[in-house]
């Protein structure tokens, strides 16, 4: 992380510049993400379909999906890697953001649904509902929906975190109750009369802000927005962990009660990180839904949240770029496996959990750095910094 010398010597330069100079890996990752997104978009838009260089819209959407997962992994890494809160329920925030977006998209369908009801989504007509429930009000407005994308996960995280951190629920206890949280939400959303489409969730979306979701140009725009969100999210997290706030977070992670005795309200620090992280997860979910075209209660299932944990673990927790790399790698592997040998995927994922925890506690990023250390003799000063970088 930032050493005091570096940050003092660079005072006066813009914060963005400072981060990026201080963080070569993050810089290159962001550049790569944007470059790939732009190239893929370009090849999709401007190269004719028959050409060998043409990229299908399937690939565009797939990449967009990966980037959303990257943002989600980043969100988890903020609380797990820097604050020691292993949330096994982060998928819930992702799904809530997704549902908020899904509700907007549902309202946009208007009377083009199967039942042609201009006011009610199909599933409500099917259930013989007469009017829109109060909690669906306002979702016809894009900006209101976007506000909810951040508010709902943020509020839930705030309430849950406020209770949990104040009463000092930590470690595995916290993990288990976050898992119970997402499980309870899953059961709720599966209920038909809960008003979110039950089993089937929300789907059959037509367009967003008037642009058809089926068209390639909309898909490309959504991909670029995902890349942008990931980039901004990365910078936000980077700024947070690099500030004194981030150092307090790490202090909380390493020695919670000591930090308290220095006079920091640990619960407030955790709460802020948890809420920020939940909002980022919600945004990731909101970008994910229009690209995949569906949101259903399965997104709340505990296994999704725990799979997310393995992305971060594989990438290397406690390094923001590592989390993103992990999400991209694991999801690419998943796509490959489900295509080539679907039955082997769960074996591979299971093995990944075991292998990372046993032999790769710092993920692939740590592996890379070990390799670098072995082959390139470092100067004595940086060796210690490496230790700083990856906490425990």
């Amino acid at each position: 992380m930032s050493s005091a010398t570096l940050s003092t010597s660079m005072k006066g330069k813009g914060p963005l510049c400072r981060f990026l100079l201080d963080d070569p890996a993050g810089k290159w990752l962001l550049i790569a993400v944007f470059a790939v997104s732009i190239i893929v978009s370009g090849l999709n838009q401007f190269v004719p379909e028959g050409s060998a260089l043409h990229v299908s819209s399937y690939t565009v959407t797939l990449l967009g999906k990966y980037l959303c997962f990257g943002l989600l992994a980043l969100a988890l890494d903020l609380v797990w890697g820097y604050c020691g809160i292993l949330s096994l329920g982060h998928g819930a925030f992702f799904a809530l953001g997704g549902y908020a977006m899904g509700m907007y998209l549902m309202r946009q369908i208007g009377d083009r649904g199967v039942y042609g009801n201009p006011e009610l989504p199909d599933f409500m007509v099917f259930l013989n509902w007469q009017e829109l429930p109060w909690y669906w009000q306002g979702f016809d407005s894009f900006w209101f929906a976007m506000f909810m994308v951040a508010l709902v996960p943020g509020l839930l995280a705030f309430l849950f975190g406020w209770l949990a951190f104040r009463s000092r629920v930590t470690g595995v206890y916290l993990s288990i109750i976050t898992q119970a949280l997402t499980y309870a939400l899953m059961l709720m959303f599966f209920q038909n009369d809960f008003g979110f489409g039950g089993n089937n969730g929300l789907t059959d979306f037509k367009d967003i802000l008037g642009f058809s979701l089926q068209s390639d140009s909309t898909r490309v725009v959504l991909l670029m927005l995902s890349a942008l969100a990931l980039g901004l999210g990365y910078l936000l997290c980077r700024w947070l962990v690099n500030s004194r706030y981030g150092r307090v977070l790490m202090a909380v992670r390493d020695a919670e009660s000591r930090t308290r005795f220095i006079g920091y309200r640990v619960e407030h620090y955790k709460l802020v990180a948890f809420v920020v992280s939940a909002i980022l997860a919600g945004i990731a979910g909101a970008l994910y839904v229009p690209q995949v075209g569906i949101i259903n209660p399965g997104e709340f299932s505990p296994i999704n949240s725990i799979e997310l944990v393995v992305w971060v673990a594989v990438g290397g927790r406690g390094t923001l770029y590592g989390a993103i790399i992990g999400a991209l790698l694991v999801n690419y592997a998943k796509t490959w496996f489900t295509g080539a040998m679907p039955d082997a995927w769960l074996f591979a994922l299971g093995a990944l959990f075991v292998v990372t925890t046993l032999w790769l506690p710092r993920g692939v990023v740590g592996l890379y750095e070990q390799a670098k250390k072995r082959f390139i003799k470092p100067s004595s000063g940086t060796q210690d910094k490496e230790v700083v970088d990856h906490g425990r």
């Binding site: 292993l86 119970a180 309870a184 505990p302 296994i303 039955d343 959990f353 075991v354 925890t357």
Partner: protein, 541 residues
């Protein structure tokens, strides 16, 4: 299930053949009633006349009449139009095979339109049932007599009353006697003088028979007499009170049986998590292994379904326990003191085990049969019956709990285990093989999960996801009860089970479950260490 039915089919047919033909053959020789006579009697169009016919047959009381009534009730009795004789008919392709209902002699094949069905409606059906019940009243089997009395009490008339009254004194079975008294009281209540009605209410107020309730309910609306009305109301209140009591007992029972399932699922976890501090996310899969062990044993020895569970319990313990020890040696051993890492690694293992089961068996649920002695219910009275499988599960879970408690408290292994938990270094220096104790403890926890799986195979679908469905609940129980405290686990499991079932009637199953989850989440905030937390300096970090 189905294949058994098919196997049994010939047997059933044989029995039916015997039942229906034997009396006929006997009676053919006696000239009790001719087919002609019966045909005129049953060929009537008027419902009332048909009703009389039932009474006549019933008064006659011979086996032949019973046979005729049975056939009538099942709609197999016809009049052949041309010959005007009474026949039984069985469909065979497009035509019907007809035979003499009395002798059982086959009379050839006719077309459908040459037959006329003997008329029947709901009123007649009830009358026939009552009439048939009279035969059963004389049966040797008290259960049959009880059924008969209940059937008759649905509709008592002057002719059946003396029969019942005569029976009361001779009856030896208390249940049948009570049913008889109720039936007579019910008759008195419906037909007797006002005094008799009041008198009978006392008896009726103690009955759980649903007919009594409906009789009282309908009388409530028609009765004018104030005193009588008051009596009816108080009798109904008695019934309500008892009904509430029974439904409370039933909810309690369902709660306890759910609690037992939770206890079985959680108790192994209480060992690995509570005693060792290891978060075993693969715990659910250990249960799954136990359930599949049951399935394998039943498939391997199809003739031993009745005994299969007794073989499955120790086998499941061994299978799940060995897998547990293997996991401990290969993975968890390297992760002691890092609970979050253990959580992730064991989750990975759970995925591998699930997929392994999918690959080896199939992704679909497997059919595990329930032994005869576990099916059916334990009928306590008219309003209350408990299913045997749940009764056994409650007993079984308590047995497992007590066994575990015994192992922990009174065996050498239990002592070693507690020593290692409390002070590893000291235990090691006293010559305890700590790593062996670790492995065995984990094996014990997993083995118990396997045993739980055998029990679960009797209650739910046996499939690759069996474990997943229970893992969160199990964790909730352990955390709620207080880690490291087996009694806490017991209280938490039973408490959560009962609360869940008490909430269900007004909240619905899923919402009840959500409420319980939310309650626990909030409870953990209030008491992070659970219900029965250990206090003192030892547990502070």
């Amino acid at each position: 299930m189905n294949w058994r039915l098919w196997q049994a089919l010939p047997l059933v047919c044989l029995c039916l053949l015997f039942v229906f033909s034997a009396p006929g053959q006997v009676l053919a020789s006696s000239d009790a009633s001719s087919n002609e006579e019966l045909a005129t009697m049953l060929g009537e169009k008027s419902w009332d006349k048909l009703e009389t016919a039932i009474t006549r047959l019933s008064v006659k009381g011979d086996d032949e009449s019973q046979n005729i009534l049975t056939l009538w009730l099942s709609g197999q009795l016809f009049i052949e139009k041309k010959t005007q004789r009474l026949v039984t008919a069985e469909k065979s392709g497009r035509t019907y095979l007809i035979s003499d209902p009395i002798s059982g002699d086959a009379w050839g094949e006719v077309k459908k339109r040459s037959l006329k069905k003997v008329r029947i409606n709901n009123r007649l059906r009830n009358s026939i049932k009552t009439a048939l019940a009279l035969w059963d009243l004389k049966s040797e089997d008290p259960d049959k007599r009880l059924q008969a009395v209940k059937e008759i009490s649905k509709d008592i008339n002057v002719s059946t009353l003396p029969l019942l009254e005569g029976m009361v004194e001779q009856e030896t079975d208390t249940d049948v006697q009570a049913a008889l008294t109720t039936a007579i009281a019910l008759y008195n209540f419906q037909q007797g003088s006002d005094e008799l009605k009041l008198e009978s209410l006392k008896t009726l107020a103690e009955s759980d028979n649903p007919i009594v309730r409906s009789a009282l309910e309908s009388a409530k609306n028609t009765t004018k007499d104030k005193q009588l009305l008051q009596g009816i109301h108080s009798a109904l209140a008695d019934l309500d009170r008892r009904q509430d009591y029974y439904s409370a007992v039933e909810s309690m029972f369902f709660g306890l049986s759910l609690g037992s399932v939770l206890l079985l699922a959680a108790i192994g976890l209480a060992i690995t998590f509570g005693v060792m501090g290891v978060i075993n996310m693969a715990h659910g899969e250990m249960m799954m292994l136990g359930a599949y062990t049951t399935f394998v044993i039943q498939s391997a020895f199809p003739s031993l379904i009745e005994q299969s569970l007794f073989i499955a319990v120790p086998m499941a313990f061994i299978v799940a326990g060995s897998v547990g020890i293997l996991i401990e040696r290969l993975v968890i051993r390297h992760l002691y003191g890092r609970p979050l890492e253990t959580l992730l690694a064991t989750f990975g293992i759970s995925l591998i085990l699930q997929q392994a089961v999918r690959t080896i068996f199939s992704p679909l649920n497997q059919a595990v049969s329930t032994p005869e002695w576990m099916s059916g219910s334990w009928i306590i009275n008219d309003a209350l019956s408990l299913t045997w499988n749940r009764v056994y599960i409650i007993g079984f879970s308590l047995a497992v709990f007590l066994t575990l408690l015994f192992i922990l408290r009174h065996t050498r292994f239990g002592l070693n285990m507690r020593a290692v938990t409390q002070n590893r270094a000291m235990a090691s220096s006293m010559g305890i093989h700590t790593s062996r104790v670790d492995a065995l403890t984990f094996g014990l926890g997993s083995g118990i999960a396997g045993v739980a799986g055998v029990a679960l195979s009797q209650l739910t679908n046996v499939g690759p996801n069996l474990g997943q469905n229970y893992i969160i609940d199990s964790f909730m129980v352990v955390v709620f009860g207080g880690v490291g405290n087996l009694w806490g686990t017991l209280v938490a499991a039973m408490g959560l089970g009962v609360v869940n079932k008490l909430l269900e009637p007004w909240a619905g199953a899923v919402v009840a479950k959500i409420l319980v989850l939310v309650f626990i989440i909030l409870f953990i905030q209030k008491r992070p260490k659970g219900l029965f937390a250990l206090k003192g300096r030892a547990v502070e970090d």
